[in-house]
Amino acid sequence: MNIMFLLIGASLLAAMVFLFLFIWAVKSGQYDDTYTPSVRILFDDDPVSETIHEKESAEPDVNKEIDLQPDKKNSN
């Protein structure tokens, strides 16, 4: 049943990726607050208006958002 090496290997690999993600999640503070996130998703987004267009073009360009590169402009 050599196949078990492959399957256990593949399963362990998947488990290692999950473990890595878990450690990353804990270390990066994902789980520092385990209450607020459950409430925050209940708040609805208030629609600003209709669709936002980048420019006053005739056709809305759905591929683009208003602000494409937030992190470059503003570090806080």
């Binding site: 050599n2 999950f18 385990t34 459950s38 987004d45 600003v48 809305p60 992190d71 503003n74």
Partner: protein
Amino acid sequence: MEIQQFNYDNKTVKYFIMATMIWGAVALIVGLLIALQLAFPAFNLGLEFTTFGRTRPVHTNAVIFAFIGNAMFAGIYYSLQRVLKARLFNDVLSKIHFWGWQIIIVLAAVSLLAGYTSGKEYAELEWPIDLLIAVIWVTFGWNMIGTILKRRVKHIYASVWWYLATFLGVAVLHIVNSIEIPFSFFKSYPVYAGAQDAVVQWWYGHNAVAFFLTTPWLGLMYYYLPKASNRPIYSYQLSIVHFWTLIFLYMWSGPHHLLYQALPDWVQALGVTFSIMLIAPSWGGMINGLLTLRGAWDKVRDNAELKFMVVALTAYGMATFEGPMMSLKSVNAISHFTDWTIAHTHIAGMGWNGGLIFGMFYWLVPKLFRTPLYSKKMANTHFWLATLGILMFAIPLYWAAITQWLMLREYTPNGLLAYPNFLETTIQIIPMYHARILGGVLFFAGFLLFFYNMIKTIQAGNLVDNEATEAPVLTDPSARKYGESFHRLIERKGVIFAVLVFIALIIGGAVEIIPMLNIESNIPKIASVTPYTPLELAGRDVYISNGCYNCHSQQVRPIRAETDRYGEYSKIGEFVYDHPFQWGSRRTGPDLARAGYIGSSTYKTAIWHYNHFTKPKEINPQTIMPAYPWLAKNVVNLDQIPVKIRVMQTLGVPYPKDYDKKAVADYREQAQKIVDELKISGVNIAADKEVIAMIAYLHKLGRDISPSKKK
């Protein structure tokens, strides 16, 4: 703090919603058809494309990948954007994902009906479609991970973790289970054989349940249940704990599909152990969902969407308790190969997945299309039709399973099988199949109300394809800071790093390990077991193509009632040349593992097989096996025989060197013997017909371990 304005992509969500409804109708209609076929063989319509062996995989694939799959993508793409406060990563990827997935579904339906199947349950699709699935799945993952990386909320909400696990899990399962070598543009043989193939297949099969029907749906539950009830999830901590537990445990439980079968005991024990442990994280999800509604049960009374979600969670709780119980060997002896498994999967499929789909849509569609639901009354009627439909479907099947099992193991006082003819046990449970049709009709009637209600709601509403919203900028946690080491950067880019490592390791691992998996492995070999002759191999392909494995197993378990009925129990060494394995999972008809063992109850002569294939009713008036008259008309493509032999040689099957050149001559020689035998009984037929190959294949099953083997 800068506020950014951006648009949510509602159009992609809308497309997936439409696709869900269309494919849902198709999947349920095919489901009704196959339920009818089991009770009334006339519904096989006398066509090779519409017999049960081909329609059943269409039903299972349509339900799982078309109906549930499209609903899953709709639900994920809507919630992902909202919890992460970001538009879907890339509109082109969204388009490719949507249309690619629909093309896969159409190709799947056409190719399965045409008889192109890998013969592995829930992974039936052939290699070109397998490749397409891999590409589209990566598109989905790319789109999702891209969205996660450009999110505007630092915290990744619980649901998203489930979605992420779905992507990673399905990717690895699909890749590992689909490694196959093509011998034509539509057909291939899997690299694994026999017991090895069985383990890989059910590792995949069970985890398809885990990562396609469970993890995404728990993620969706964690978004849509709080939204629909306007209550935060009961315990966010529990959602975290049971997420990590569940994904770590699921991968190991696949072998519980192969208990008492030709598999080392330790592998079976491994599967059972992890299956039992799975109760804990599974019930964590159910409890968390149900307790979210504490203090809100008055809302459940009025809201169809919440009612559906409560049924979904209850069904999930039942199915995830029943599953581990079915993994116990003594229970499995009853449930495996009977309708118990069918009842179990429908509690989960109709109750858990169906309930969540309907609950989610009754909340999501009015919200997305900015209009009240067309008819609440209709939705409530749908709820009762669906719930009663599930019960009417499952209870008769549990009944049928127990009845059939009791009959199959019943002995006379003299120590003989009380019902030596398998058909008697089938006839006994036909009334249950009638009742099951009624359950299916109720469920489908409810679906029609749902369909109408949704269409009316969508017509009345108006959806904004690109819905404007705003959110504060998230200081990019992954931006490289001055003087920072490269590794720190990689560490911060956690998700992308994990995915890269994962893909690299899986490819590396597969390339290194697969060549080791040849027949010389530590599988106990049986000296008398020989590779299939070219004729038998062609017959095997006809067997697979007609989906015979959907009703006939090839696996005698070491249980007295089975060895008395069929003959010696199956051994690992018998299957070393089986690419793919054909052990089956349900015995609607008798087991065939000893069909070539002279003296066994399932051994029949060539003329019997010929008559039984062409006119089964003349042999058993009450049989529910459809007729296969085309087997006597269709011709085997002899040009492919040498290629098949060469592919098998590549896979390690020990044919003599250059055998491919001799194979067709051998084929004709062996076929002529069967033709001559049939001629004595007054049947004149050409040697290249499919039925000749089929008879040769059936006479191979179990022959190699029988004392009458002459070679």
